[in-house]
Symmetry: C2
Subunit: 228 residues, 2 copies
Amino acid sequence: MPPERTRRRIPDATVARLPVYLRILTEQGDEGVDSISSERLAELGGVNAAKVRKDLSYLGSYGTRGVGYEVAYLVYQIRRELGLTHDWPVVIVGAGNLGQALAGYGGFGERGFPVAGIVDIDDSKIGTVLSGVRVRHIDELPQIVQTKRVSIGVVATPAGAAQDAADRLVRAGVTSILNFAPVVLAVPRAIEVRKVDLAVELQILSYHEQRRAGGAIHAVGNTRPASA
Amino acid sequence: MPPERTRRRIPDATVARLPVYLRILTEQGDEGVDSISSERLAELGGVNAAKVRKDLSYLGSYGTRGVGYEVAYLVYQIRRELGLTHDWPVVIVGAGNLGQALAGYGGFGERGFPVAGIVDIDDSKIGTVLSGVRVRHIDELPQIVQTKRVSIGVVATPAGAAQDAADRLVRAGVTSILNFAPVVLAVPRAIEVRKVDLAVELQILSYHEQRRAGGAIHAVGNTRPASA
DNA sequence: GAGGCTTTGTGAACGTGCGCACGAATGCCT
DNA sequence: AGGCATTCGTGCGCACGTTCACAAAGCCTC
């Protein structure tokens, strides 16, 4: 049995926090900070120091007791673990409002996720150029994915078109999908899907607001006048 | 009329799923479905049927054994629990790329979160109109929040301006914040913050892609002694 | 080089959430 | 009316994630 077979599995919760640590560490590095303690990193990341240490311990023992963590080395290790040692080109499906905003969001390519292509099904959008990337027809998806070696697809279509977009992405060979459409996508088990849903986030906030307003209001019934 | 209910605390994980159930149920209702089983709802929502039942049980016993749940009634109950019985006006800080896209995203008002205002600090943007809403100066924030009774603020600024935006929102009286900037916001404990971070999502996908590609690549080098 | 101070790394306790499995309730059929 | 099929509601064990607390390990001073 090869030694690399014992590859650690990092808990999902930790994986979700590593990018946050990475950003903070990068910033700190840029500001000339060489070394950082778990305490400080926790403060900047809005979490518990013990959690930081446990999270980082999954990467290996890269800290120095009594001192802290060397920022540059930690940045390197996290980047390696997250697979950020090379670029991951992405393809965006949907050149509507959201697709345009995503394409225009510079932070995309900056952070190692260059936009390899944007496609849409609407002929009127084909050919227009968004932030230097020409919108192409969705039928060209397989070609884009193959030639540019894209493994991450972004679904930025209206809800009704999302499942079709996902199907096409999967058929084209993409293995990870970031879904912005308010739909639960059905995909093969092997495909990794993450969802960003504006409405869900707002509704969660709504829940807390309503709760804050006090069960008192509710006890009486629908006190609030039917607002506009 | 149901008896007075002690206000249950609903688990966060459940709160996060209720909006998904709600959307599915609304769709099903529109399609003429009157009754739905936990099994079917689970299938559409991509979760386990037992989880659906447990989630819904936090709202009360609104199902009928042997039959399922009445769609319309369940929609009503979830909406009530999430505080969606009335609108929650939101104010957007930042009229850049993202702010514009958010304002243009019709689903906002449709789903009960009308845009009460958009503000920016950049004079060149003031006065422009985005989807029927005029961009106003950030100094007008307190006035907007007060007159329109806004309790949810959306931070759509660049990273550097996000903390200031959050501070201003809090001072203006907002109690919930949806943060799109890649920054961990420091806010008073009482303020509810939710974060949507594109880069984080992509990096999580990157982790899985890299993992999928096989740890073999990493087997080279790094002969650091394994810790006991 | 010993002693004290700092900070990591981690075992263990604790809390939360998940999913199975089954009793309970309801509708339908004969 | 009684039996059967269906589906809800939930107790329970398990797995995961969080936090505490402390020993181990390094640096600094004298």
